[in-house]
């Protein structure tokens, strides 16, 4: 029990520490910002740029619109929830695609040499540049009555960032199967498919788990950036942009939206941690710090 509780306690302590540092700097830092060696790198500490922690928390419960209605927190939470569902779809698609690619590449040596460089190159394309392109293609897609929904472009971009670490991790994992075990499967006249399912995939699990962590984070970043880039309404990405424009009049709003984005990332991390625990049960583990 205490082992489960520890990360929670650590998290709370860390948050508290951040708040203390924030208020501490705000108390002693220069009001108008400062220069070190001629560079203006010390942030200003006025309430505009660095609102008090308590006014941030208080601001969460102000109505989001001047006319009243839902509070900022409610709006941010529902935005985060919207983005989270998209990120989850992106993550699932990215993981499935990444694993499928890894299986194909592990099966055909030649394919690995031919395809892997392209996968690496694909990851160097900036997401910001890719997002409008994907949204543009999606907008033209229409099969019968079915029209490509705009959120799927964001999901696809999340998948785009998620699949790469999963593909690379899975590929390495599939190849990590113990030669003695492989020979055993051969001696039992097991088919390639059977060997994949009973030996190669389970051997790959310790490699897949950390890849999922990277993939989960990638999916969240991909979706949030895509929302901003293609102007998708309803998600947290859009709220961050919207609220930062209102920063002069309501400076605390933007912080609430950043918390929302952080919460989104944390939830994804928690889900991946759950998958980790599920897959790695009954496995020998070095004590993880």
């Amino acid at each position: 029990m205490s082992r489960r509780l520890r990360p929670v306690v650590m998290f709370c302590v860390a948050m508290l520490l951040v708040a203390v540092l924030w208020e501490g700097y705000k108390a002693i830092g220069p009001e108008k910002g400062g220069e070190i060696l001629g560079f203006g790198i010390l942030p200003r500490t006025n309430d505009q740029v660095m609102p008090h922690v308590w006014s941030m928390i208080g601001g969460m419960f102000d109505p989001a619109q001047r006319t009243g209605g839902d509070t900022v927190l409610q709006v941010v939470l529902s935005g985060a929830w919207y983005s989270f569902r998209i990120a989850l779809v992106g993550f699932a698609v990215g993981v499935a695609f990444g694993m499928a690619i890894a299986v194909v590449l592990s099966r055909f040596r030649l394919a690995e040499r031919a395809v892997l460089p392209y996968l690496v190159i694909s990851q160097t394309v900036p997401l910001i540049a890719l997002a409008p392109l994907v949204a543009g293609w999606g907008g033209k897609l229409q099969i019968g009555d079915w029209v490509w929904p705009r959120w799927m472009s964001a999901a696809l971009l999340g998948a785009f960032l998620a699949f790469f670490p999963v593909a690379v991790g899975t590929l390495r994992g599939l190849k990590s199967a113990n030669p003695a075990s492989l020979e055993l499967m051969d001696s039992l006249a097991a088919s390639w498919w059977r060997t994949l399912i009973t030996l190669r995939f389970p051997s790959a699990v310790p490699y897949i788990v950390p890849a999922l962590k990277l993939g989960g984070a990638g999916a969240v970043v991909g979706v949030v950036v895509a929302e901003i880039s293609i102007g998708l309404k309803g998600g947290i990405g859009r709220l961050i942009i919207e609220y930062s424009r209102q920063a002069t009049s309501e400076p605390t709003k933007v912080f609430t939206s950043i918390f929302g984005a952080a919460l989104l990332g944390l939830t994804m991390a928690a889900i991946v941690a759950g998958i980790d625990a599920l897959l790695m049960r009954n496995r020998p583990r070095e004590t993880t710090s």
Partner: protein, 273 residues
């Protein structure tokens, strides 16, 4: 019926050659002109200096390698057919257990691939666990067992489908002397009870003599059989056998055969224990 079974050899190797990387400058003549017949129920050990082709010979019998020329018959069938029919079980120096499967599920693996149903599989696996005296460890994970226990699980797995032939490549290499002797006795008992034929690779002369009906002595570069030594110790083998003068006599015979190998090829890696 009995006559017919006796007529079929458990393993029949004729004119066998194996050249790795044939045609290239890195070509290795791993085996040259190997002929060997092994009767059902016989225990045969392969011994010889490192690199003389013992593992290669075992893998050829298992059809994990293709011969360059010559034939390998297992139970009168081509080796490839025998592999498809799971006519042999295999155990290596590394146990090759699946760490994500419990002990009992590791033993079930060959039966799973044979398409046995779950209840039958479980019953047989538990029976095999009793045989290797690990009945209490069915639901343990392999990494919770000692090296010797893991090796016993690997042997139970090799025996699970009751294959008529057992191929073992230095299975006790990683064990301490006491465990090793204990495992040797257990292996002999199990094989006698299940009337399994065994081809056993080892580096240890006493181990080969203690276990075998015949010891096949091999020499390297090129790998071939130089001598086959009969080991008739008369009656059951038990711990007393190890102090027997006949036992020592046979050890000396194998050692001399290996010394002959040393003159010609240079023996390395033979343990005199």
């Amino acid at each position: 019926m009995t006559n017919q079974v006796a007529a079929v050899h458990a393993v029949e190797i004729a004119g066998l050659n194996k050249i790795f990387n044939a045609g290239k400058s890195s070509a290795v003549e791993a085996l040259v002109d190997v002929d060997l017949r092994i009767a059902p129920g016989e225990f045969v050990s392969l011994i010889g200096p490192s690199g003389c082709g013992k593992s290669t010979l075992l893998r050829l019998i298992a059809n994990l390698l293709e011969p360059s020329s010559g034939t390998v018959l297992v139970n009168g069938k081509p080796a490839a057919t025998a592999r498809q029919d799971q006519d042999y079980g295999m155990a290596f120096q590394q146990s090759g257990l699946f760490e994500w499967r419990s002990v009992v599920r590791n033993i079930e693996l060959p039966l799973e691939l044979k398409g046995w149903d779950k209840a039958k599989r479980r019953a047989r696996a538990l029976e095999m666990l009793e045989l290797v005296k690990l009945g209490d460890f069915a639901s343990h994970m392999p990494w919770q067992l000692s090296g010797g226990m893991q090796q016993r699980v690997a042997i139970a797995r090799a025996l699970a489908a009751h294959p008529p032939l057992l191929l073992m490549d230095e299975p006790f290499g990683a064990l301490d002397e006491m465990t090793r002797e204990h495992m040797q006795s257990e292996l002999l008992q199990i094989c006698a009870r299940t009337s399994t034929t065994v081809v056993f690779v080892t580096h240890s002369i006493p181990e080969a003599v203690y276990l075998s009906n015949r010891v096949v002595v091999m020499s390297p570069r090129p790998g071939r059989i130089t001598e086959i030594i009969d080991v008739d110790l008369g009656g059951e083998r038990d711990e007393g056998t190890r102090e027997d003068s006949a036992f020592y006599g046979r050890i000396t015979a194998v050692r001399e055969a290996l010394r002959g190998v040393e003159m010609t090829g240079g023996a390395r890696g033979i343990e005199d224990r």
